[in-house]
């Protein structure tokens, strides 16, 4: 029967999938275990600078236009129902809780996650990872830990910028296009938004940072031979990080904003 090979294939896929989940968790565990020792702060700072400079411009651009388009859409509807005094608050809350962390995470996955995988992957295929091991240097401590720390602490910084620029974009459209008064907009933020709307987003972004770094490093360290392998690992890294960001975002929202 054709059913048995079919089931076997499904089973094999599931096993391979679970295996890689296990390996990612092992890599995370190994990195956390390395935190006992003082990480190389020079490396961490270099990674942070790299990461921030790489992603900030796109994050700003993305968030500016997101804030603008969102305000354009909702102000139109809200004004129809006489709720223009809620626009500012809704924009700020949406930015703080969801849009800024998720979109900054997606941008960082595309910029930083891809860069991490490409760099480590090309080190893998040219035996530089082996060279590290031969020189008694743990690749997890040397490569993964600084990137993990940098991503976890740099992403919230990006999100702060994202929150601000997104809301500014909203403000610009609300006042210049939708005819909402500048006081109405800012007052509405003060009335509706609370600190938790921002801090929750920052907590989320730390989780996303960890996802981007660990997936990026894992895909890099498990790159298959050849330049083609590096390309495949890089796309794989971005896609996996994005999926994990979207899925974990749902559960984080559930926990943080129930």
């Amino acid at each position: 029967m054709a059913l048995v090979p079919f089931l076997e294939t499904i089973g094999r896929l599931i096993i391979r999938y679970l295996e890689s989940v296990g390996k990612v968790l092992l890599l995370l565990g190994a990195s956390l275990a390395q935190l006992r020792r003082r990480p190389d702060m020079g490396q961490v700072l270099r990674q942070m600078a790299h990461l921030g400079a790489d992603s900030l411009p796109i994050v700003l651009l993305t968030m500016l236009f997101t804030g603008m388009v969102m305000t354009m859409q909702i102000s139109h509807e809200f004004i129809k129902y006489g709720a223009q005094s809620s626009v500012g608050g809704v924009v700020a809350i949406a930015m703080g809780r969801e849009l800024a962390p998720v979109l900054a995470g997606i941008v960082a996955a595309g910029r930083v996650g891809a860069a991490i995988t490409a760099e480590i992957g090309s080190m893998k295929v040219t035996e530089q990872i082996d060279a590290l091991r031969v020189m008694a240097t743990d690749p997890v401590a040397y490569l993964v830990v600084p990137r993990l720390i940098a991503c976890v602490f740099m992403l919230p910084v990006l999100v702060v910028f994202a929150d601000v620029i997104g809301t500014v974009g909203g403000y610009a459209v609300a006042t210049a296009y939708a005819g909402i008064g500048s006081y109405t907009f800012t007052h509405s933020i003060k009335v509706f938004a609370v600190v938790n709307d921002v801090t929750g987003g920052l907590i989320k972004s730390m989780v996303f940072g960890a996802i981007i770094a660990i997936i990026g490093c894992y895909k890099g360290l498990t790159t298959a031979e050849g330049a083609e392998g590096v390309g495949r690992a890089t796309t794989g890294s971005v896609v996996t990080s994005m999926i994990l960001i979207f899925v974990s975002n749902y559960f984080l929202s559930y926990i943080l904003y129930r």
């Binding site: 040219t126 082996d130 060279a131 091991r133 031969v134 008694a136």
Partner: protein
């Protein structure tokens, strides 16, 4: 001292090495020769713990490493160096930083002392003043020599050379051969050298091991190997296409 006892290695289903028994004495230069794909690099990778054997034991300085955890292995690797077949330089770092890497990671030397050591090691491989060059700006042979300088930077007790003279011009090859011999003479380094250059094998080796089809088919001193009665060995060291080809031609002429 290095000792391999009944070692086997495989990649997935593919058996690459079987029944490897080999002892390299302290301060000895052991040259490994054999056809391409016969498993020479794999033996070196086993010796430094990059690869776990599927069977057998690997002893380095009296300690069995094949079942060691990475942390324990690292303690042993601090006394070892390896020149990779394809150099494996860190391409994000300058030549100087590559050579300094082990020193920065594992010694308490200050910057000036490290710079001095780096300068000396680069001079030994004929690359004086190249500290600031990036690996991407180097030729294949120059990369090889940086890799060599990096391997000996920490003054290791054991150095594994994977084709250290591949891609080098004849004069540079001789320089590197001399360097291998002099590091042994000056520091008592134990060396394992994989090479395809028979002339350099004969000039530097204390003993030669020939590997073929994943097995060691002959081990002996230079003269023992030259006089080996094994047709595979004779064919290989003379580069005959068919075993005994030239000998037959010669004897038919006379």
């Amino acid at each position: 001292m290095i000792k391999l006892a009944n070692v086997a290695a495989a990649f997935g289903e593919k058996q690459v090495l079987q029944d490897i028994n080999l002892e390299v004495a302290e301060g000895e230069i052991m040259v490994i020769i054999g056809p391409s794909g016969s498993g020479k690099s794999t033996i070196l990778r086993l010796m430094i713990g990059l690869l776990k054997p599927t069977a057998g034991e690997i002893w380095i300085n009296g300690r069995e490493i094949s079942r060691m955890a990475e942390d324990e292995l690292n303690a042993i690797r601090r006394h070892m160096g390896m020149v990779f077949q394809y150099s494996a330089l860190f391409d994000s770092m300058t030549v100087g930083d590559n050579v300094a890497f082990g020193l920065r990671q594992h010694t308490a030397l200050n910057d000036a002392e490290i710079a001095k050591t780096v300068r000396r090691k680069l001079r030994m491989v004929g690359l004086t003043g190249q500290e600031r060059t990036m690996p991407s700006e180097l030729s294949g042979g120059m990369k090889k020599r940086v890799s060599l300088a990096r391997a000996i930077a920490i003054d290791p007790e054991i150095v594994l050379y994977d084709e250290p003279t591949a891609g080098l011009d004849p004069i540079m090859s001789t320089t590197i051969d001399r360097l291998i011999c002099s590091t042994r003479r000056l520091l008592g380094v134990t060396s394992v050298v994989v090479t395809h250059h028979m002339s350099s094998a004969f000039s530097i080796a204390d003993r030669i091991a020939m590997i073929s089809g994943g097995r060691i088919i002959e081990v002996g001193t230079v003269s023992e190997i030259k006089q080996s009665s094994n047709p595979l060995v004779q064919q290989f060291i003379h580069g005959w296409v068919n075993s005994g080809q030239i000998a037959r031609r010669r004897s038919s002429k006379t």
